[in-house]
Structure formats: structure tokens, C-alpha cells
């Protein structure tokens, strides 16, 4: 990133070939004259390969999307001729046009719809993801971040969540095996046979999620069966024209409350402060706790992917992923 900013802004275009290379290989810190002919040849071959390689469709699409995203996020600058004309009329950057108050200063955002998902589906998905992740991202902080950093951060978090999931599965399997006397290699426990709170808090969330998924599937199946009588099942009615008054709104609210009650009974049977507390930890911390638990209890290293004979974990380079590089 850094060298890009230091690039000269003009006059570099006189030599086409250099310019060409600069796009992917500007390395001002390694002066070219130290290069031997062999090295140069090797470099050229390498560069040719990179340049000649046809980018995959996904890569190209990602590039295009990123370019569009960037262009959409970049306001027109003061070198714009239109801006200069407007400035002559007394326009100041950041101000709105016209005489009315509260006029917009930014263009309306472009939002593209690539699928046939109904209204609210996207929000619902995001909400579910958030619930699964179990933590509320710090919004204010996010806004200040540069887009790329944020994407990187999100990717990293997703990666850690994935690792947590696998570590939880491992912990669950090992715990269950141990409980059963180590003679079955069963995949997890039957969620129906044991109260949830008796599960280890480290992987309780996993069991909970599995139950929720099963329930949702069940509900979907039921709903599909009931479609022929959709009036009673698919839609919840509110009476009258909704462009109206309070009386009607009260009815709506009552119905809404009914539904909320119903939802609560169904989906969130009881509060679980222990699990909530665990889920509110940052992902990295949750992962560490799981890793340490696996090591201490089962002498298992998540990164080595194997069980060691004793507590010393002799041969394992350490707790963290970096130790295993």
C-alpha cells in the first residue's frame, strides 16, 4: 500500500513499458541497477507469467465490483469544471442546493438486487448472522474504518467464527466420547436427551443452534403442508385499511405483540446468562478459551489436529495458530 502513495503523479508515462510494469510491480525500495542479467531474465519470465495469466471469472468480477464500489464512494473533486461554475455562484463544498432546508448533499445510494429475495429477507439474514455470531459489532467504530480494512476485519472474524465452530465440534465430540467411556465415536449428543445447561458452555451454543435449525426445518415443512389453507396460516391479518387511525394501529400492535409472545415461547425457551456471557466475548477470546480447554482437558491440539498422550503436549509448538506456521 505504502509505495503506491509515493508514486510520482506525472511524467511517468513517457516510457510505456515501465509504466506497464509499474501497475503490478513498482518496488521503489529495490533499485533496478543492482539486478544482474540473470535476475532480470528471471524477473521478466515471472512477470510475464503473472501478466499472461488470465484472471478467473470470480477474480475479474471481484475486481470490477471493487472498482465500482470505490468509484461510488468517491465524491467528485474540486477540479470538476461543474464545481468551478457552481463556486462562481457562491456554492461551497459540502453545502446543499436550493433554498429549502435539509436538502441532500449526497447522491442516493445505488443498491442492486441480484436475486428474487423478498423485502426483509436480507435484513433477516443479517440479523440471523449477527445472532449466531452472538456479538454486536461496534457500529460507530466501523464507520470510521476504511472499507478495505473493514472487509479484512470481517473476513478475519468469519474465519475465526469458522474455527470456533470446528473447535466446538471437536470439544463436543471429545467430551461426549469421554462421557460414554470412550467406546463410541458418536457425532455429538442427542439434543433431546439432556438439558441444555448441563452441556459445557463452551459448546452449548452449537447445540442450541442445531436445535433451532431443526425446528425451523420442521416449521417450514409444516408451513408447506398448510399452504392450501393459506389464509389461516400463511398470513396474519390486520383488519381494515392501514392508512388510518389509532384504533386500527392498536389492533395491529396487539397482533404484533401476540406474535412476539408466540415467538418467544417457541424459540427462546429460557434465558442462559452463562452462555450469553460467553457469547459476548470477542471471537478471538472465545477461540482461545476453547483451544486451552481442548489442551487441558483432552491434551488435544486444534492446530496439530491430534491428541497427545499427556498434559505436556510434547512436540506441539504452542497454543496459537502462528506457532504452527
Amino acid at each position: 500500500m505504502a509505495h503506491r502513495q509515493r508514486e510520482p503523479s506525472a511524467g511517468e508515462a513517457s516510457d510505456d513499458e515501465d509504466d506497464y510494469m509499474a501497475m503490478s510491480f513498482a518496488e521503489p525500495d529495490s533499485p533496478a541497477h543492482k539486478e544482474t542479467s540473470m535476475q532480470r531474465r528471471a524477473r521478466r519470465v515471472r512477470e510475464g507469467e503473472i501478466k499472461g495469466r488470465v484472471k478467473s471469472k470470480a477474480e475479474r468480477e471481484a475486481d470490477a465490483a471493487a472498482a465500482q464500489e470505490e468509484a461510488l464512494a468517491t465524491a467528485l473533486d474540486d477540479s470538476n469544471k461543474g464545481f468551478r461554475m457552481m463556486a462562481k455562484l457562491g456554492y461551497k463544498r459540502g453545502a446543499a442546493l436550493g433554498k429549502s432546508e435539509g436538502a441532500r448533499t449526497e447522491p442516493i445510494k445505488l443498491s442492486r438486487k441480484d436475486d428474487r429475495g423478498g423485502i426483509g429477507l436480507e435484513a433477516e439474514r443479517k440479523r440471523k448472522l449477527r445472532d449466531e455470531a452472538g456479538n454486536v459489532p461496534n457500529k460507530a467504530k466501523f464507520d470510521e474504518w476504511d472499507y478495505r480494512d473493514r472487509m479484512a476485519q470481517e473476513a478475519q472474524e468469519r474465519r475465526i467464527e469458522g474455527q470456533i465452530f470446528h473447535a466446538q465440534r471437536m470439544a463436543e465430540t471429545l467430551d461426549t466420547e469421554e462421557e460414554a467411556g470412550g467406546n463410541t465415536a458418536g457425532q455429538g449428543i442427542d439434543s433431546g436427551t439432556k438439558p441444555l445447561t448441563s452441556c459445557n458452555v463452551l459448546w452449548r451454543g452449537l447445540v442450541l443452534q442445531r436445535q433451532a435449525d431443526e425446528e425451523e426445518q420442521q416449521m417450514r415443512r409444516e408451513r408447506d403442508r398448510n399452504l392450501s389453507r393459506f389464509k389461516d396460516c400463511v398470513y396474519s391479518a390486520d383488519d381494515g385499511d392501514s392508512s388510518d387511525d389509532d384504533e386500527h394501529r392498536n389492533v395491529l400492535e396487539a397482533k404484533l405483540n401476540d406474535r412476539t409472545l408466540f415467538d418467544e415461547q417457541d424459540d427462546e425457551p429460557e434465558a442462559d446468562p452463562e452462555l450469553e456471557e460467553f457469547n459476548s466475548l470477542p471471537p478471538a477470546e472465545r477461540l482461545t478459551r476453547l483451544l486451552v480447554y481442548l489442551r487441558d482437558k483432552h491434551h488435544y491440539c486444534f492446530w496439530c489436529k491430534c491428541k497427545y498422550p499427556d498434559f505436556a503436549l510434547d512436540g506441539c509448538p504452542g497454543v496459537d495458530e502462528e506457532d504452527h506456521d
Binding site: 468509484a71 469544471k81 442546493l97 441532500r104 423478498g118 429477507l121 383488519d239
Partner: protein
Amino acid sequence: MADRRPELEESGRAKRQRTDDRDPRNNPYLAHHYDDAAASAAGPQFNSRKGKSNGAASGRSLDAFKRHETIAADARKAEDGPNNPFTAAPLSQQYFRILKTRRDLPVHAQRDEFLEMYHKTQILVFVGETGSGKTTQIPQFVLFDDLPHYYGKMVACTQPRRVAAMSVAQRVAAEMDVELGEEVGYSIRFEDKTSPRTMLKYMTDGMLLREAMHDWDMTRYSTIILDEAHERTLATDILMALLKDLSTRRPDLKVIIMSATLDAQKFQRYFHDAPLLAVPGRTHPVEIFYTPEPERDYVEAALRTVLQIHATEREGDILLFLTGEEEIEDACRKIRLEADELVREAGAGPLKVYPLYGTLPPQQQQKIFEPAPPPDVPDGPPGRKCVVSTNIAETSLTIDGIVYVVDPGFSKQKVYNPRVRVESLLVSPISKASAQQRAGRAGRTRPGKCFRLYTEDAFKKELIEQTYPEILRSNLSATVLELKKLGVDDLVHFDLMDPPAPETLMRALEELNYLACLDDEGELTPLGRLASEFPLDPALAVMLISSPEFYCSNEILSITALLSVPQIFVRPAAQRKRADEMKDLFAHSDGDHLTMLNVYHAFKGAEAQANPKQWCHDHFLSFRALQQADNVRTQLRRIMERSEIDLVSTDFNDKKYYENIRRALVAGFFMQVAKKDASGKLYTTVKENQSVLLHPSTVLATEAEWVVYNEYVLTSKNYIRTVTAVKPEWLLDIAETYYNLDEFKKGEIKTALLRTQDKMRRKAAQKASYK
């Protein structure tokens, strides 16, 4: 009828004598000069007639009326005949039949209230729900009181859509028992159906704006009614700002803003707290249903819902809102298939399915008004019709008999972003106001039901309150040019109801500057003045104006006309292959513009003209679109002739024939150019550096390194549509300012252009050394 004409024509001539001398029809933009003259001439005449004060004797019951002092009873008497109060001709039977139904309309009950307010105030906000009769009745109420014909003035009533302007004018002409185009006329882009006798003119809001460019004070009107203002079209918004300003300069001008219930206070506030008159619509309660959870596939959910309604609900027709032609046709097919199965297996009643969208031919649009089919067996399950429509059925078209509305919550909306300079139609969530409007459609005949395919929570949280007005979603370069011509100099402080984002104005000014329509100070140039004469996008206008320099103005005129009408190629889903083969007959390997030109030339050929309808059908071309293009071409040619722009062609056998046309395209569209990437699959737009694909419909082979495009379409992919190959030398040559390479960002495009520049310099040097 026949014996009425002579008298009519005579009276017309007597009143506006100057008409015939000047023949304003040949020059509609000069007509207002004539109107001024007529106004002063008519004044005294009117006075003298008033002096006689014997209206009844002459058969003109309006002679005794005192302007802006009449009451409903006066008008009622005049309306009752026996002679037409405006033409003095005897009134027909049909007139009286219609009059009876007119008097049942909700607005009629408040005629006196309306007149009282109209007398007292200059600007009035009138709110009436669809079905109140405001569009047809209010202008007539005004005629009886404003008496514009005695003063050589007219009443204008604007409509956002061409079709509405035409059909409403026709209806009102019938209501007033006059011939369309005489006392009541309409004026839309490329079509003017008015006469010197016209006193009530329905017109698109865009037309009134164009007229105002030549008549800043809109002197030919005594009252201007802006109808459907809640739709907030670009032109209506601009007109509101102009009229707000004009009202201080012209205290005699009356303005009525008509809107459906939504957001009326906003209009009042904007017009210095103008008084409001509201007329209730005739609507029944509508029960609203939401889904308990979001839908995974709104189209599938919509089809399911329609079929369930058909299988389980009482009789009553269904209206389903979808987003576009393809989606609608597809949905219609599927509903028909499934409904047939329902009839066979579950014994449901017959179901007729009709599509409805803007580009549907009129005779097919008419089908939606056919009554629902009767039950298959007496007392059997009811038959019904189902209309699958875009949002044109939301406000502009009223279909009686609709009891069930299915609303997935989406519509195709125009979006514009000045940063990437893309204007496109995108499927977007509707607003709460739109959702209410849609629901209201179920309550026209009796209490109805509306099924919203989203949760109530999503309705509350995800939908915006009001649809963004068009001015916030449009490229404003054409508008800015018009405003400049309208004498609005301070665009920054122009008092719009919802000013657009500053960057939108910035872009528009910049584009106009590159097109040389505005100078660096932002002043209109002679070219800009000329370009504003054309009812076209500035880029098209500039291309047309500069085409004689490339010896192809005839051809560019044809292309411009073709680009101004709906798609000329027809590609029915069932016969795609055949349609493509036919298109290939006209294909020109250098691009779509040239292909369209080939089509037009063939269409005008003797073989096609022998039976043009059949010929178009055989060649998978839209007869309507080509006919329209022909009409547009004629109109544009008139403007060219008036502006003394030469109509020339290169000899068809000259090898430069097509090259000249391609060069001329560059003169207008140099800001819409893309270059092929090194990868060879994608193109990148010049300056904005956006990756785009050639639209699959193009005839252009992918060898073309550089292309101009007519349209940047956003769908799930970014496409450029209607493209033609050009050469980089032309870009540097024809659009020097825009292609000032110092201003280009580093990258493939700049490198390539620099190389072209070098090549051109070397060539020039060589040439010079030979001499």
C-alpha cells in the same frame, strides 16, 4: 355534425383573425407571439359583446358570465344547454348521458367550494384520490369561470404521461361535446393536436416546460393546472419551481396543484402556505395481510398467492404487481398453466390472465378491461381475471372489478449516480406511500384485500416513506440546458422542492461544458442555444447539429429518431432463434447504430412499404416503434430546417459512407466510450473506469477495441447496450477537450491513447515532411 362545422370555423376565425396570416402551425414556438396579439385584440371585442349583454340570443350562455365571480349554479345552467356553451352548437344525446354521470362524481359536490377558493387565491392545492374525477372535471370547472377564450388565453392541464394526456383529452372533448383537437386538445412530445380555437389543453409536463423556454412568462395561459403532482416527475418539479417564481411576476396567472392524498402539506408549505381543498375519493376499506416471514423468492410467492386467492376467495378480480415485461410475461405463462391444473383437478373456476406494461401495444392493453369470464357451470365456482402489471396500474390506470391486490413490494425505478455517471432502471423496494396506493386499488368496487409479500416489520422498517422524486434519480444535463434557456442563471440557489445532490448538478454542468453547450463561465453558447431547440438529450442534439460536418446529417437524423423510440427489435421468448436470424439480415459488423439504420432504410424501401405491418411482423420488428421513429424523424427534420441545419448524405457507394456516420456518433457520444481490456472479455469505460460487458443483444463482434455506447445498463451485471466500433484517433481528433490526456488517470486506457497520439503525431510529421 356536418352543419355545425362552418359556423364553428367562422366564429373561430372571427375571434382570432391573425391566425391565418401567420400560420403558427408551421412554427409552434412562435405561436405565443400571436397569442399576445390575439389577447389584446380579443379584449375589446369581448367588451363590446358584453356591452350588448345578450348572451342567450347568440346562443352563447357564457357571454353574461362575470369572470372569477361565477357560482356552480351558473355553470350548471349553461351546461344544461340546449346549446353548447362554448360553441353554440346544439348538444348531442350522448353529451347529456355523460353529463348525468359527471354530476355523480365526488368533485361535483364541492364545485362551489372549489370556485370560492379559486376566486380568492392565486395558488391552490387540490387533493383528490383516484376516482374523484379531478383530472377531467376541475379543468372544466375552471373553463366556466376563467373564460379563457374571451381573453385569448388557454387553460393548461399537465400530465406526467403521454398516454394520459391523450386519453384524458379525448374523454374531456367527449364530455364537452366538441371535437378532439378543437376546443379541447393535447400536446405531447412530437405530437401537437390543438387548434387556434383550443381553450383547454392537456399536455405532458415536459411539453409545458419546453414551451416555457420560448415564453418565460407562459403568457398564453390564464390558468395552469399541474395534475398528478404527487408523482413528482422531473418536469413537474421544475414547473413548480418556475411557477412559484412566475406567480409574483404574473399576478393574473392562477395555478392549481393537483395531487392524490399523499404529502399534500409539503405542497402547501412550498407554495407559501397555499390553501388546500380536499375531495374524498370513492373507496372501500381494504384488509391488509402480511407474511409472517420474509419470502425467499418474491415471484414464486406471488404466483402461489394468486393461485390461492383463486382457489379459496370469493369472486373478484386480482391485480398482481411485478417489475418488468419479462418477469410479467413469464408469470402470466406460469399462472395460466397452474390455473388450468386447478380447474382440472380442484374444480376451480376459469381464470383469465392479462399482462400490462408500458410497451404493450394499445389493443392488448385494452384487454385488461374485458369482464371476468363467467363460471364454467351455472352456480359453479366464480371465474375471474388476473392482471399482472408494472406500477403503471398503481396510479395511472384504473381497472374496475379489482378486489384482490398482491404486492411483492418491488418496482423498477430509475436511478442515477453522478459519480459513475450511470442512469439505469433497477428493481428496488417501493415506498410506504406506493404500498398504500397499491393496496387502495383493491377497494375501488367493494371492500377488498391486499396481500403484501413481506412482513409488517419489514414494511415499517425497510420501506422509505415516499418514493424519491425523479429529480433525485436522474441525469440533469438536459434539464440544466432547459433551465439555462429558461433564463434561470443561479442554478445553485434555484428553489426546488427537493434539490438534487450537488454532484448531480456538477456533472450536468461538466457534461454540457464538454459538449460545448456551456462555456467555462456556465453561460449558454450558441451551440447550447441551438441544442436546446431539440427535445432531445444534449448529447443527441449536439450529434445531430454537428452531423453535417461529417456529411451524414440525414443518416444521423434517422439514428437519432430510432434512439428516441422504444426498442425496434422484437424477440418473443418462443421464437428467439428465428428473431435473431432476422436481425442478422440487417446486421452491420461495425455495430448496432448502423444495424438500426439498415433496418430503417429497409423499412422505408418499396418492398416493406407495400405492406409495412406484415413486413415488420415477418422480420421481427416493431411496426409501432418504427412508425413512431418515422414520425419523430419528421418532427426533428422540421426543427433542423428551421434552424438551417443542412441535410446531407455521403454517397452510399462511397467507402466512407459508414465511417462518416461512426465519426458523427463520436461527436455526440465521446463521453460514452469504452475500451476492451487486455483480458479481451470486459470493457472499461473511459474516465470512470467501470468494467462493463457488451449487452448480449449486440451485433458487434468482440474484435472492436473501442466502442461508443448509447446506454449503460445495470442489472446483475453491468452492460453497455447499443454499441458501435470507433477508432481512438477519432476520439482525440473530434473531442479534444474531453480527451485531454493530462487529465486521465494512469492505466490501460491512458497508455493506449498516448500511443495513438504518438502515432498521429508521427503521421502528421511525415505528411509535413513530404510537402
